[in-house]
């Protein structure tokens, strides 16, 4: 019995990847996962995905699937010495300083300055600016452009600013007290002012976007904001049925996390003057990195210590959110379904769910799914001309999967 479920779950993961890849090539950039199609699934996630992938295989896009299944692991041994952060040191060093300057320039109110710049203290990982600048360099090299354009560096700043604006609003929504190891904004300032500071960052960011003076880049970067808000709305509802849950989770993850990375690297490629195909490669790379990043984040929520994450563990459960590890664990422990529906609100729910996730294969399966996305990102990066930057693009997936916080 146990082995059947385990292998079933593993199959589920595998088919879900196939489905994703198919969907990706089919869908335009706005919808990473075709929820309408997924909704037709049957009782269990497994069956749902099997049917899905069968349907997809008979699709006119089947060659995309085949290409994926013949994908081979990239040899990453030779890359182990590459550190993208060191490579980009010159470009990244002043990113936070420059963002802070931009935010300080646009207001005369000291308190607004303080709140708006609070999370730009240089303590963040700067993952988004790093990936954006890396892609910009790699595409520039591919296109024989000169070094990093000023506008491309601005896109990296914009990505981090949109991210911070959303963190600030998340803090009000989640009522969290800590973030990145320090008191969160809403613990220090009133909710209304924090909400306004978030709007302010968004406004200043939009002004920067406008100054890039590129119509399609503006549309691409605005899409991030729309996705973030829609993702947040998806997180509100738990109305979806068991079958829809995983698709719902993936779409939400795309909108809340992956869209930002995907669309910012897409903007970098557009500014480099890349053709549509190369722009698509960038976008897909960013999307896969983003999904992997969030999957690992959801995984770490169950295993990291409070000190490493700078926030309490199992925070998602306490917020009533069912992430990948729980959804996978559901396969083995159906009693989790009821808890998901009531958003872990009853006493002992969060603790019990935490325990069941650890007893199940949920964490391994989540990591497996993250690795699959990383592999796909690596494959996509292989389409870009070889350069130190392109090599770093191959390393980023490993950084993401192996990170401890």
């Amino acid at each position: 019995m146990a082995s059947r479920i385990t292998s079933g779950a593993r199959l589920c993961v595998r088919t879900s990847i196939d489905k994703l890849v198919c969907n990706l090539s089919r869908s335009r950039h706005h919808n990473a996962v075709d929820t309408a199609a997924v909704r037709r699934g049957s009782d269990r996630i497994l069956q749902c995905y099997q049917k899905q992938s069968n349907r997809m295989r008979s699709d006119h896009q089947r060659n995309h699937c085949r290409r994926f299944t013949t994908l081979q692991d990239t040899d990453t041994d030779s890359l182990s010495s590459i550190d993208p952060y060191r490579l980009l040191d010159d470009d990244l060093r002043d990113v936070y300083t420059d963002i802070t300057r931009e935010l300080e320039l646009n207001t005369n109110q000291d308190e607004l300055r303080t709140i708006a710049t609070y999370y730009f203290d240089g303590q963040g990982k700067a993952l988004r600016p790093m990936v954006a600048i890396l892609m910009a360099h790699a595409i520039n090299y591919h296109m024989n452009n000169n070094g990093l354009d000023k506008k491309q560096r601005e896109v990296a700043m914009i990505a981090e600013m949109i991210h911070s604006a959303s963190l600030i609003h998340d803090d009000v929504i989640d009522q969290s007290d800590f973030r990145r190891g320090k008191p969160s904004v809403n613990a220090l300032w009133s909710h209304k002012k924090v909400a306004m500071a978030g709007d302010y960052i968004l406004a200043v960011t939009s002004m920067m976007i406008a100054r890039l003076n590129h119509n399609d880049v503006t549309i691409t970067l605005s899409q991030i904001i729309t996705d973030l808000v829609q993702g947040e709305f998806m997180q509100l509802g738990s109305k979806e049925t068991e079958n829809e849950r995983f698709a719902h989770y993936l779409t939400k993850t795309y909108r809340k996390t992956a869209s930002l990375i995907a669309n910012s690297v897409k903007a970098e490629a557009m500014l480099a003057g890349a053709d549509d195909q190369l722009v698509d490669v960038s976008f897909e790379y960013g999307r896969n990195i983003g999904l992997a990043f969030q999957l690992v984040d959801d995984l770490l929520d169950f295993v990291s210590s409070k000190d490493a994450m700078g926030k309490p563990t199992a925070a998602d459960l306490k917020l009533g959110l069912a992430t990948a590890p729980v959804l996978f664990a559901c396969e083995k422990y159906p009693e989790l379904n009821a808890m998901i529906m009531r958003r872990f609100q009853e006493p002992g729910d969060a603790e019990r769910a935490f325990e069941l996730v650890h007893k199940s294969q949920g964490l391994e399966q989540t990591r497996f799914l993250a690795k699959k996305h990383c592999l796909e990102a690596t494959r996509l990066a292989g389409k870009i001309a070889e350069s130190p930057y392109q090599k770093s693009l191959l390393v980023v997936p490993d950084l993401i999967v192996n990170r401890m916080k």
Binding site: L105, N106, H191, S206, Q230
Partner: protein, 424 residues
């Protein structure tokens, strides 16, 4: 009122009968008292007529602008959640009611103003496909008018958050309701903002994106000006010396240094009031009017006139709203709360700073001040006359801009709106 957003009426069926009637019942007594107030003031019917006639000129009522976003899943979701909040005290309900019933406070007519000035100015060398011939405006101008209303609404909704601090709600159930209300308010506002960004981006005009984004920046900055109580309600601060806070480095600064407003010399109180209200209102309407003229292909000079028109119109409007509690027969004399940074109070404080003693009782909560007392003090002072003059000066400035345009039905409609406000 004709300016009630029809789109919000559409939202109605989504809210259960119970909650709908609850809201209606709650609102009715206030509505009737509001009518009583305005009966002493003959301008209201004129206002209605001016607005509804203006709406006919630019095609369909402004409120229809928002139909598209109101029919989205996200807003349906919000409506469902709002239902849960009925019975709680969360101000989001009041904001929603305000939008539904559209007190003049909300200036729902902003989109209408943008369309009217678009039509009054006409457009140059534009692709015919881009034109809404029947209304005499461009599709892009209509989109901009919609963005203006969405930004304005999102700001109101975000302003409707509650500052929750330890000890404010000892009852966990109430605390939960309030936290949930904040969440919905924040998300709804963000939804409108994200839609505005997408809509603006689709207009493919980066100068416009920057201009309108800077108006959003100004709105957020407005909430940080001066002293605030624990719920972020503004209180007058000691007045700053003249022209101190003009920052020439601020990109697209809506504030301009000046020495006077028509016949009124600039004073610290006038400067303070102007700064607050340009940031919280004048900037958005001014920049939207400026932007719509840019979309029509007009030059920088005319765009500047558009900005001035929107700015002065909104300030005239604000002065008029500030006066309302001090009109004869107003129930505010009985102690109903009013804005402590309204023009009559600010002018009075400049005339007699001893009133700060009363104001300072509200540093923790503006509810703690004695409104009846402040009302009677202000009524006896020069603040009301100054405010009437303020309103006239801004109305006159707005009218002056209108003379730049050729005679047209849209121009007449705009001047009717200014007259209906009691100006000129």
């Amino acid at each position: 009122m004709n300016t009630t957003p029809a789109a919000f009426r559409l939202l109605w069926p989504r809210i259960s009968k119970n909650s709908a009637s609850a809201v209606v019942c709650y609102r009715r007594p206030y509505a009737s008292s509001a009518t009583a107030v305005h009966n002493g003031n003959q301008q209201k019917p004129d206002w209605n007529r001016a607005v509804s006639e203006a709406e006919k000129i630019v095609g369909y009522p402004t409120s229809f602008l928002s139909l598209r976003w109101l029919l989205s899943d996200e807003i349906a979701n919000v409506a469902l959640h709002l239902r849960k909040l009925v019975g709680s005290n969360h101000p989001l309900l009041k904001t929603a009611k305000g939008l539904l019933y559209n007190g003049r406070n909300n200036m729902q007519a902003w989109g209408l103003i943008v369309l009217l000035i678009s039509k009054a100015a006409g457009h140059l060398n534009v692709d015919e496909m881009e034109e809404d011939k029947a209304a005499g405006v461009l599709h892009s101008q209509r989109a901009l008018a919609e963005v203006t209303e969405m930004i304005r609404t999102s700001h109101l909704v975000h302003n409707g958050l509650v500052n929750i601090y330890p000890g404010l709600y000892p009852e966990p159930v109430i605390l939960n309701d309030m936290a949930f209300g904040n969440k919905i308010a924040l998300l709804s506002g963000d939804y409108l903002l994200s839609n505005s960004c997408a809509e603006l981006a689709s207009l493919r005009n980066q100068d416009l994106v920057e201009l309108i984004s800077s108006a959003l920046r100004d709105l957020s900055e407005a909430e940080f000006v001066g002293r605030r109580d624990s719920q972020n309600n503004p209180l007058p601060s000691p007045f700053e010396p003249l022209n101190r806070h003009f920052n020439s480095k601020l990109p697209l600064n809506p504030l301009e240094p000046s020495d006077s407003l028509g016949n009124m010399p600039l004073t610290p109180a006038l400067q303070d009031w102007t700064k607050r209200n340009v940031l919280s209102a004048g900037s958005l309407l001014g920049k939207s009017c400026q932007g719509t003229l840019a979309l029509a292909g007009h030059g920088v000079e005319l765009q500047k006139q558009g900005f001035l028109f929107g700015k002065h119109l909104s300030l005239a409007w604000q002065a008029y709203l500030d006066l309302e509690p001090f009109m004869s027969g107003s129930p505010y004399s009985l102690g109903i709360s009013f804005n402590l940074t309204s023009a009559p109070v600010m002018f009075h404080l400049e005339h007699d700073p001893s009133l700060f003693e009363e104001i300072d009782k509200g540093v923790n909560s503006v509810q703690d001040v004695d409104y009846a007392k402040i009302h009677s003090i202000v009524m006896k002072g020069p603040g009301i006359d100054y405010t009437k003059q303020l309103q006239k000066e801004h109305s006159r400035k707005a009218m002056e801009v209108l003379e730049v345009f050729e005679e047209s039905d849209a121009r007449t409609a705009l001047s009717n709106i200014i007259v209906a406000m009691g100006g000129e």
